[in-house]
């Protein structure tokens, strides 16, 4: 086909192409680009009684970095991530390896049982665990003699809620990756006399490292933005779950309880930048392995 014959059709496609992506582009600008730029701008200003909004350079960021409440929130989510992420990914991996190996009907029922918490709103998952933790309505504290809502334990109790809600989701992603590995790889290991546990640990797990990287990134992203679970459980022990419990809870209360929009924007922008840059560095560093192209 000559260039001259092709041109009119490409022209028609160009118009159609633009028309087709217009709704998406408009939404992208209105609800992603514009708010992001607006947050950036807000974070560089300060609201004063005398002069109104004044340009304050990076003052809000400097304040945030030196703010003990913000810093303790950051420390808390980092600690949370360091403990909860490996535990949850570990459970998900074990579960995925088990359902990959077993072919019984029970393993299909198990797959459903593990995945169903993901379908429940975080608000309701947290409510249910809140009732289960409470010594008045739940069995857990009388069974174990542990106060699940004290300031020393509530972080772990929150970690359990997140693990419960997301382990099955991660299990399905890992299971799908396991299913994608050619069976011959396992068969030859078996012929060499490797047992089921050995095959799982030495062969299957390394084969799905790309998927493991992916679910780890998504978990870390979620962890840094930790918000709904602590906010819902807050009335059960407001002394333990403070208004600055996590950076996101802090940003929320700064904006909507104290009307400190500029400071709130700086906190969430800082947090967002860490998440954004962090996940891209992570993705880039593991690009060859990871499948997110």
């Amino acid at each position: 086909m000559t260039a001259a014959a092709r041109r009119p059709r490409v022209g028609r496609q160009a118009v159609a192409g633009w028309l087709f992506v217009t709704p998406f582009t408009v939404l992208l600008v209105l609800f992603l680009l514009l708010p992001m730029l607006y947050a950036a701008k807000l974070s560089l200003y300060r609201s004063t009684l005398v002069e109104g909004e004044v340009f304050a350079w990076l003052d809000n960021y400097r304040q945030a970095l030196g703010d003990p409440e913000f810093r303790s929130g950051v420390r808390r989510v980092v600690l949370f991530g360091l403990v909860q992420t490996p535990v949850m990914i570990g459970i998900a991996l074990v579960a995925a390896l088990l359902i990959d190996e077993a072919t019984s009907r029970f393993s299909r029922v198990f797959r459903l049982a593990a995945f169903v918490p993901y379908a429940v709103p975080v608000v309701i998952g947290t409510l249910m665990w809140g009732f289960l933790y409470s010594p008045n309505t739940g069995p857990l504290s009388s069974l174990t003699d542990v106060d699940f809502l004290s300031s020393g334990t509530v972080l772990y109790s929150l970690g359990n809620i997140v693990t419960w809600q997301w382990a099955g989701y991660n299990m399905i992603v890992l299971y799908a990756a396991l299913q994608g590995v050619p069976r011959e790889v396992y068969e030859s290991a078996r012929i060499d006399g490797a047992g089921a546990v050995q095959t799982a640990l030495r062969i299957k797990t390394p084969m799905i490292s790309a998927a493991l990287v992916l679910v780890t990134i998504f978990t870390i992203i979620g962890t840094l933005q930790f918000f709904t679970e602590p906010l819902i459980l807050q009335p059960l022990n407001p002394g333990a779950i403070t208004n600055s419990y996590t950076p996101n809870v802090y940003a929320y209360h700064q904006a909507f309880s104290y009307q400190q929009y500029n400071y709130s924007a700086a906190i969430s922008f800082l947090l967002g930048a860490v998440v954004f840059v962090g996940s891209y560095i992570f993705l880039f560093a593991t690009r060859r392995k990871s499948a997110l192209r």
Binding site: Y38, A114, A119, P121, A176, R190, S268, G272, A291
Partner: protein
């Protein structure tokens, strides 16, 4: 596919681990089911994981419909409205864009798609406050649009549908339809859409469930309790029951409200398992 027989001991061990894990995942649901048959005193006075002897489920339900002037039914309707409108809208927008990115040649296509990939990771956290302030300038906070409009944007759905359309929509059929004189919109409707159907259902399902479950956005955007979705509404009830600042604490209403809110999700989940798993695996892996 033949698998070598495993030792019986190994099978028992692996099934025991699965049984233990399944008990953990199902425990809260069992508790919720049992608790929804108890009245408020029964919640506090009987064994948490077993029935109390009375069966109060229907009384609880009728209490739920009447509590606070029947506002729960409004919340249920709102959740349904937000998730259906956002789900259909977002899927339509993503289908058009995903198809165009995969199959149409237009200047700026690669640039725009690169922008999408760059922005897909922007965390929602950063966006909620400025979106609220912008909405408030536009006078749209405390309206249904404040929840629906931002939910129409689904960059991951566009990405997923682009990946899917790339392989599933045959170029020859598009070309043949064009030679037959079909306009681009018609080509899209009669050739591309049917071929993209499984992925469209997945995106629709995910957007609907995400909107049904959304909490942060409606929490910030809405202050009129008549506009609340279930998530925000139940949280306000739970909060006032726990803090005890709104008259008699009616935990049984919260419990049965939570049950009613997740029943449609569990039904959708069980009926549409194929599509759930599809969504987790199409875009992310392979």
């Amino acid at each position: 596919m033949s698998r070598p027989a495993r030792t019986t001991g190994g099978r028992i061990a692996s099934h025991a681990v699965m049984a233990l894990m399944a008990a953990y995942f199902l425990l809260p649901f069992w508790w919720l089911l049992v608790a929804s048959t108890k009245d408020n005193d029964g919640l506090f006075g009987s064994a948490p994981l077993w029935f109390s002897g009375d069966f109060e489920l229907f009384d609880n339900l009728s209490l739920l419909w009447r509590h606070d002037g029947g506002v729960y039914l409004r919340w249920l309707r709102n959740s349904a409205l937000y998730s259906v409108v956002s789900g259909i809208g977002a899927t339509a927008v993503a289908a058009l864009a995903g198809y165009a990115f995969a199959k149409l040649r237009f200047p700026g296509r690669n640039l725009l798609f690169a922008a999408l990939l760059g922005l897909i990771m922007v965390p929602a956290t950063v966006l909620v406050l400025p979106t609220y302030l912008l909405m408030s300038e536009a006078g749209l906070t405390d309206t249904v649009w404040a929840v629906i409009l931002p939910s129409l944007l689904n960059p991951f759905g566009v990405y997923l549908l682009r990946v899917y359309a790339h392989d599933a929509v045959p170029d020859e059929m598009l070309e043949a339809a064009r030679i037959d004189g079909a306009g681009e919109l018609r080509v899209f409707r009669s050739v591309a859409l049917p071929a993209m159907r499984p992925a469209l259902v997945t995106v629709l399902l995910f957007t609907m469930v995400a909107t049904w479950n959304n909490f942060f956005l409606p929490l910030v955007m809405l202050s009129d309790s008549d506009l609340f979705p279930l998530t925000v509404g139940l949280r306000t009830w739970y909060q006032s029951a726990t803090l005890g600042n709104a008259g008699p604490a009616l935990f049984n209403v919260v419990v049965v409200g939570a049950l009613v809110a997740i029943v449609p999700l569990i039904v959708a989940f069980l009926l549409l398992q194929r599509y759930w798993r599809g969504g987790l695996t199409i875009g992310a892996l392979k």
